[in-house]
């Protein structure tokens, strides 16, 4: 079980990379420590169910804080939009072809459209991979859903 807890803590530390930079920079170590402590206490108190409860809470926070923060990064948004456009174009083209039983676009025109859309996500992902260790954009605490008075 100790191995599972260590693995859980490692996974949580990896997930912290996706949280807003300001939050991670100031409280990252404490968040990781608090998660490990909470996980250990929950396991002693309620066994596997306790561990599941802690992970469920951590994952719901991941969706509320980390995902909006990631979505605001151009390095993530550009490939996502590009992939979406590519899938929409492919689906539309296939639907038209099935409906009319005939090729809809000349091959050259179709290639000219889909080739940039297909390659853009990979180029963007390669750029993200290359620059992953550089803190280019400060994201602030944009993942928060709570509004104070």
């Amino acid at each position: 079980m100790t191995g599972a807890l260590t693995l859980s803590s490692r996974i949580y530390c990896r997930l912290l990379d996706f949280y807003p930079e300001d939050l991670r920079r100031k409280f990252g170590a404490e968040m990781a420590g608090l998660f490990a402590e909470d996980l250990d206490a929950a396991r002693r108190e309620a066994g596997v169910l306790g561990v599941i409860r802690v992970w469920r809470c951590a994952l719901s926070e991941f969706l509320r804080f980390a995902l909006p923060s990631c979505a605001s990064r151009p390095a993530v948004r550009v490939p996502a939009i590009s992939c979406g456009l590519f899938i929409a174009l492919m689906s539309g083209e296939m639907a038209l072809r099935q409906a009319s039983h005939a090729p809809t676009l000349p091959q050259a025109a179709f290639t000219a459209l889909w080739l940039p859309m297909f390659t853009t996500p990979f180029i963007a992902l390669a750029a993200v991979w290359t620059c992953r260790s550089r803190a280019v954009i400060s994201l602030g605490l944009s993942g928060s859903t709570e509004k104070d008075d």
């Binding site: 949280y19 300001d22 939050l23 100031k26 409280f27 170590a29 404490e30 968040m31 990781a32 420590g33 608090l34 998660f35 402590e37 909470d38 802690v54 809470c57 951590a58 719901s60 926070e61 991941f62 509320r64 804080f65 980390a66 605490l141 993942g143 928060s144 709570e146 509004k147 104070d148 008075d149």
Partner: protein, 113 residues
């Protein structure tokens, strides 16, 4: 007439409530907040520290040095005067709601009898 108060988010309210019982570090705040909410508040590390950051920014809590025998890696927090009045205003707001619901016989205890 007093200015109507915006309700505090549950996490913020219970963090202030937890600190009203004494200075604490992050994990102790989380434990106390859960206890005070009868385990109804699901508060994780990100919610806790985002709320703490906002409370620090608004001056409602402050970071203090930990006790000599405490873990040096932990940060300790204390409720400030604005934090105390913020907590009291929220409690008064809740109390007023309960009073009104009792007057209208909508309060669960009143409506049962």
């Amino acid at each position: 007439m007093p200015r109507p108060e915006t309700p505090l988010p549950p996490a913020t309210f219970f963090i202030l409530f937890a600190l009203a019982t004494g200075d604490k570090h992050g994990y102790a705040i989380m434990q106390e907040a859960r206890k005070l909410s009868d385990d109804r508040l699901k508060i994780g590390p990100a919610t806790l520290y985002t709320s703490i950051q906002r409370l620090l920014d608004t001056g409602r809590i402050e970071e203090i040095g930990g006790p000599d025998d405490g873990d040096p890696r932990r940060r300790y927090y204390r409720l400030t005067k604005p934090g105390k009045s913020s907590l009291h205003r929220e409690m008064e707001r809740m109390e007023a709601i309960v009073r009104k619901s009792k007057a209208l016989r909508l309060h669960p205890v009143e409506s049962r009898s």
